[in-house]
Amino acid sequence: MSSELIGVWIGAFLTLGIFSFLYKDNPFYKFSEALFVGVSAGYWFVVTFWQYFLPKLIDNLVLAYTVLTSQGRVDYHWVYLLGGGLGVLMLLRLFPTVGWLSRWSLAFIVGTTAGLQFTRYLESNGIKQVQGTILPLIVGGSLNTTVGNIVIVVGTFCGLIYFFFSKEHKGAFGGAARVGVWFLMITFGALFGYTVMSRMSLLIGRMDYLFQIWLGLY
């Protein structure tokens, strides 16, 4: 039995374990689940170590140290000590008395996110979308495009009205909000229907794995 064949058997065994969950929770599934969680957490830890920790921190500090010893000058790579310091603060969470120090590191991350995403969202979700919705309402020679453009502009307009929080959805305003929800519902339905095909492809792929690769039935 080759190692690949053993691999296929293990894979098939675990696949069935996951599928058995469809009937009900059982030891077979619990085993697959526990193994899955453990292996994935270990995998992610190792990948983080080799691909982020080493190149982003250790390599930079080693470089700083080499420059210091070989050329006798302090170069900018030492700033990574600060980053490392913020990281070490995270580990202080393990000790209840000094754990609050980790808030500095958390604050650094949250602050970065807030500042970066503020402009990003206004640009890509705000201005770009307005730009994309600026469409001519009358397109000469194409009734199709004309109707399409008008529906898009009206739909976007009503959809935005739906998201108003500080005004009661009553009267004409409420009517427009309702039209907005209709547009949202059409889209949600369409997205649902559109996804069925790719989900079925996944199942077909697994069935192929079980029947073709594992059992060799066809």
């Binding site: 969470r93 935005l160 929080f165 500080s166 009661e168 949600f188 649902f192």
Partner: protein
Amino acid sequence: MQKKSHRCSRVVLAVFLLLLLLLLSVGVPNAQQEETTAVPEDTSAQAPAPPTNVKAYDTPNDNGHSITVTWTLSADDGAGRKNVVSYEVLRSASPDGEFELRGMAPAGENIFEDKGAKEKSDANYFPPHKDFYYKVRARSDGRYSESTVSAPAFAYGQWYHKGKTPVVVAVLLFSTFCLVFITVARKGKKLYIRPLAGIEAVDEAIGRATEMGKPILYILGLGSADMIATIASFIILGRVAKKTAEYQTPILIPCNDPIVMAVAQETVRAAYLEAGRPDHYKEENIFYLTSMQFAYVAGVNGIMLREKPATNFYLGKFYAESLLLAETGSLAGSIQISGTDEIAQIPFFVAATDYTLIGEELYAASAYLGREPVLLGTLKGQDWGKAAVMIALLLGALAATFHFQFFLNLFTVKL
């Protein structure tokens, strides 16, 4: 009431069919195009006319390591002998020194950005504040004709990116809206906000868990702390945890990211402190599971079936796992409240959970739950932002209809 909604759905179906017929009468488009077959061009073996008027200048809106070169097309590019195939851009530190090739542009193009690295150690380092001379040559089947040398230019960095002005305007406008209404709200003016079903269900859902004596499961999604949706979820978690502290209902938070776990611990601890029950806070209930999408789902599904939480919250960033979680939760008989800004996952949450916060509602939820005037002020600011967008949409549609290109340019961000 039921009868009415019954009739309504039939009306909708009828309208749907009518619309269908109407749209059909518009006609299905038929793609057909005239074919064009041309005789191959006669490219003579002579060198093309050289490009003229070569200009070099510092590339605007950059970090100072690039120069832009422009020229007037060769007389044989697209006209005349039609034999230009490309342009080559050459650079030198002195007008009569050795020129080196910096790059190519295809025929028809009259601009090239000579860009280099900013690190001195990089082989392609582009020194700023240093004069360079450029020339451009037209190429045709191994034959070249060179332009004259340009005037010198040097690269330098800019303090402001002019292409991003629309974003500056948006930032200022939006911040002003929010700040104005925060001030108004602080002064004690009462602001109306319309009810949201998902929010009203939160209290009920926590109450139900308390009655049943079962825990609440709160899922912060698959995002890390670098996503605003996750941060919005932290804020909501603070409000929810305060209530669970008051009711003394345990709250379980398996996390997909260790930083998210740390922030969630801080949030819940603060909420318990605020509710006056710091002794009931259990850090081990907020734990890390794994960062891999489906392994995380497998673990959470296990928790749902074995701990049987009365209520599940799914708020934050969700991807394909949304339906896996929501279906298992509904199988376990939990009340489920969901919300995300990923439009592709909303349909599954709508289908499989009891209440869904759609897009912006997720971000508004914290203000709804907090009910503090300052937060309601930002909601009002958001509404004004929407109003501004709607006005821009209408004006834009009119401008596009009557071909006022300048209005469109107002919204163009040049990166």
